[in-house]
Amino acid sequence: MNTRAGIYSTTLLHRRRLSKRAIEIKLEKPRSFKFESGQRICLVHKAVERDYSIVSVSEDPDICLCIRLVRGGALSSELNTAPIGSRFSFTGPSGYFTFKPSLRPAVFVATGTGVAPFCSMLRSGATGITLLHGTKSPSELYYKSIFQSAAILYVPCLSEPGPSSEAYFQGRVTGYLQTHLAAGLYDFYLCGRREMIRDVTLLVDEKFSGSYIYSEIFY
């Protein structure tokens, strides 16, 4: 695995709004930059550093990131307003949160922008995946079409009531796991809020004891 961090210079190529609380940006990919799906980079700007999981796959021509907009956040605010063509630095890749195929079924669990590494993993060939995505509202179900086509089961878990026209689970991801996932052994991949990671981990200890857990705390 490539975990030897290099320092790279890059250019902001593209930005689009994903929801009120998130944007997607595309950065120029340096020719020598290689990574594995699930790894992250550390963006550096004016002495502020933030880690972001990569949404794109290694073969893509650019580096795509899904950025949660933090009120007063030094880097997310900059990325949200910087002119296209602005220069940034980053280090990476880093992290071991990669897909590890096994005989156990894999369950990906994300909250908010925590779906970023799962998008990359599914696009790079991870199969047989159940994916739960916990958000407040349907507008935050980022990369839904990719997940609908690549996962064997994609379950949006909405904490606020959603439109009746769409299939979703009303409640938190832990609620779905508690009531809908059959007891057994799984490989759980958790990415997102620390509270979700804590709650799912403790639930796994109780209901899915013996399962494996790989986690990446986002915020």
Partner: protein, 189 residues
């Protein structure tokens, strides 16, 4: 971002390879000993004068090697995560042996037991040596629980490294007393 996750509040913790295990697990005990060893070497580095940059750099490498051994201990033998672990190599073991030989060449031959202590750096090094020996004992106890086919060369190299590191720390203690002008004290000599 805060460091606490709360996932260990009920006495379990996660291995690097994904399993949840009791914090009383032999593997976690081994990891705790390695952590204590690494921290004690940190104490030794802090006590060393900046005038010993070679020794300090050598020990920073050792601290890094101990992280590799800890990662190995946090990974079950047949898990896919094992592929991402950097093994201890013969080169790292020989680096320790060469350092031992280099320092021993500057030391008087030892004819009786030396009392642990002397200069503060020597005292730290002796303390680190004893924690290293405890780490080794726990590592052996843990390896005894594995099936023989699971005790791969990775573990054997780690075990050799820890054994050699104890010798290294003993020699470092003597070397520190020597270069800092503190006479060694002997037992019934």
């Amino acid at each position: 971002m805060t460091i606490y996750t709360g996932t260990g509040d009920r006495g379990k913790t996660s291995l690097f390879s994904g399993q949840r295990v009791s914090k009383a697990n032999a593997r976690i005990e081994a990891l705790g000993n390695l952590d204590e060893l690494n921290s004690t070497i940190g104490g030794l580095i802090a006590a060393l004068s900046p005038k010993c940059p070679d020794l300090i750099n050598e020990m920073l490498e050792i601290q890094s090697d101990l992280f590799s051994i800890s990662a190995l201990m946090a990974t079950t033998p047949d898990s896919p995560s094992m592929d991402t672990i950097e093994s201890i190599t013969q080169v790292q073991i020989e680096t320790l042996e060469n350092a031992i030989d280099r320092m021993e060449n500057e030391l008087p031959e030892l004819k009786c037991f030396v009392l642990p202590g002397g200069h503060i750096t020597a005292a730290w090094s002796h303390l680190a040596r004893t924690v290293c020996r405890r780490s080794e004992r726990q590592l052996v106890r843990f390896l005894d629980t594995l099936f023989s086919e699971q005790v791969s060369e990775r573990y054997q190299k780690a075990l050799i490294y820890i054994n050699r590191l104890s010798d290294y720390l003993f020699v470092v203690a003597r070397y520190c007393n020597r270069i800092l002008g503190v006479p060694e004290q002997y037992w019934k000599c």
